[in-house]
Assembly symmetry: none
Homo-oligomer: 219 residues x 4
DNA sequence: CATGAATGAGGCTTCATTCAT
DNA sequence: TATGAATGAAGCCTCATTCAT
């Protein structure tokens, strides 16, 4: 008795289950995840999962929303008040790079969810609002860069956002296969540092390349 | 009688099983895929899968190698004999875009495999050699572009390849979540056409942006 | 309601499974035994077998150890405090005869296990200690018999044990084939009584035959 | 062409199948034996087994009869023309010891068959006659030993046969469990030589022990 | 709130046997 | 005679979920 860590602590139990669920779903995907594993990892009884979350699908959705919530919290770090749009876009790009690097569970959950055609995400009521702040930030940066004449004119926020996110995301999401095919240790620190710089270069080259705007007419 | 499609045609049976396996693994991932479904879709007896492929894991590996083999075959299309390096890089980029667009099974199998940390790919003996030709093509293009002074000096083939592949791959691999969060029909033809042009622009801007080579020193 | 025999009685469930397992493995051997049969005979859900024992192999090992444990328990009956070594060896011999007669499952499990080259027995951690008490008893009897000059000098406990056990064991283990070949109802009570006496005679003749000790030189 | 070893040699194929069957049934028992394994080991097509033997059960019966036929052939070696009944009984005993030692497949097939309650043996039409010659030999030896006053009067051929056979058989049939429990290498040559002598001693002590005939009245 | 025993459906795999050639 | 592709039944095992306490 007196074992306060185990007895009658609903919030703690829920949190532990959620954390264990995120880890398990990341590690094995939805189909491969085991409710038993989650219960054990959470130090909770399996019945508690059903008590608090209903079933495996609902637990997965909770884990997915937890992941998106993590991104929302991190956005606050990204307070770009820079006068320099180039520096701002650089920070914006690096924010994504760093986030994916430090939150592999985010990458894995999104990848899993995409394989399931966003089946569960579509059931979420408040996820859709989450990414907007980042998009708004990007739009502000673009506007400022174009006003000051540093950025090309034909920038589209949505496309640029996809490129910035994708170029970083892909490195982490597909590291295993191309690491194997090209026989490189993708996750080594020096490899990541090298790639990080490349990513920034690509983005900055694109947004500041005003000449090539016309080149699009070629294709 | 006369039902030539069902009787004693081992090669056909194997092929049908493999095709059904690719579809099923793409649709549901390794853990979610059902051997029964594959057998039924192939119009074959379930026992045949074990007769020809051994077990589910071996069948998955065969499907994975089939996917990579498909890429190898497609490479022949990419005979870039252009004198213009910019045009060459454009073709190279579009080849990847088109391939991912037209072969969603390639994207899904690779994504699945990455979620499993390339567990099965590592068992493959001849996959590693497959991507080399593409990399060689890219190196030739880079060399030519730099000789003619059109390309920047600091291009790294590996990084550029990852960027070209990733920027396209990401669009298709993450279409479902992005489409939902931003409420856009990512797979609509006009959206894809728009994106296709953007991707080309980004790559060309980067490789031809000789000025910003120095800008990297800033970060 | 009130059906206490079926609900929430883990010990009872485990015991019933184990008993059913012993019967099934005896009847059909390891390969021939059916997990479904065991579950049904135990009145339990098949899943419970895996819950409590892990898998078929582990269940078999548990059954095997149960069998050996039965022998250990029976040993307590064999408290030979006789002053007469001949009477002691007679009791010792009859103990084995009676045990094999009354525990056909012991004979069958051992026979099955030997056909499998003791594959599972070797995994057991506490079986090896079980037979020692019997061997110790025999050694004491031999020592006493030799001290009093009733037994021959060249008795080897291990060999004698094998003979005592084997001569009885064989009758029950091979009853079906030689019962058929010689067309006799081996398991009829009068046949067993006759054989029982013969077995005792053979052992006593051997241990008390001091003259023939030299005869070994002949061969 | 010209590969005479593989093509169109019915007798050879049948013999190879039978030999492979004996080996497989010995190694794994009836339930554990695999028709595929037998076909492969025989270098034959699986269909041939069904062509020549009908089905798995019939093949097993054929293997069982083959085993008994082997014993019959070996009996000819046992031409005991000795004037000395003790020497004759010694030879008779050693014949069984040697046969079991040199033909483990005989021991295993009989053991397997007994576990199945002689299910298949009972279907055999000519096995029952096979052991008679040995029994007749033993009866002659007993008669001679009793006529010359060397053997005890109460010898029963059937019981003596069982003892002689069983005491040897048991050593080989139960070698694995005994070897493990007592931690001895039962099949080592020096162990076998030691045991061989012991077995002979036990039998000779019994048949020549005329005094203890009365002692049976005690029990 | 918490436990873990119990369940039924379904998953992968194996098997002896038959069929078309 | 010989081959090996094809089959349906059944085996072991796993899973998410519910129930009794």
């Amino acid at each position: 008795m007196g074992d306060i860590t185990r007895k009658r602590n609903p919030e703690r139990t829920q949190r532990l289950i959620l954390e264990a669920a995120v880890a398990e779903f990341c590690e094995r995907g939805f189909g491969g995840a085991r409710v038993d594993n989650i219960a054990e990892a959470a130090g909770a009884n399996k019945r508690m999962i059903y008590h608090y979350f209903g079933n495996k699908e609902a637990l997965y959705l909770a884990a997915l929303e937890e992941i998106y919530a993590g991104l929302r919290n991190a956005e606050h770090i990204l307070d770009i008040e820079d006068d320099d749009p180039v520096e701002a876009i650089r920070k914006f790009t690096l924010f994504h790079w760093e986030y994916y690097d430090q939150h592999p569970e985010f990458v894995k959950m999104l990848t899993t969810e995409n394989l399931m055609k966003a089946k569960y995400l579509k059931r979420s009521n408040h996820v859709r609002t989450l990414k907007s702040p980042l998009m708004e930030s990007l739009k502000r940066i673009i506007a400022q860069g174009q006003q000051t004449g540093v950025f090309r004119d034909d920038l589209d926020a949505f496309n640029l956002y996809l490129t910035i996110a994708g170029i970083s995301y892909f490195y982490f999401s597909n590291a295993y296969t191309f690491g194997f095919v090209f026989n490189r240790d993708i996750m080594a620190e020096h490899e990541k540092a090298d790639r990080r710089q490349h990513v920034v270069n690509v983005i900055i080259s694109y947004v500041t390349d005003k000449a090539s705007t016309d080149s699009t007419a070629l294709s």
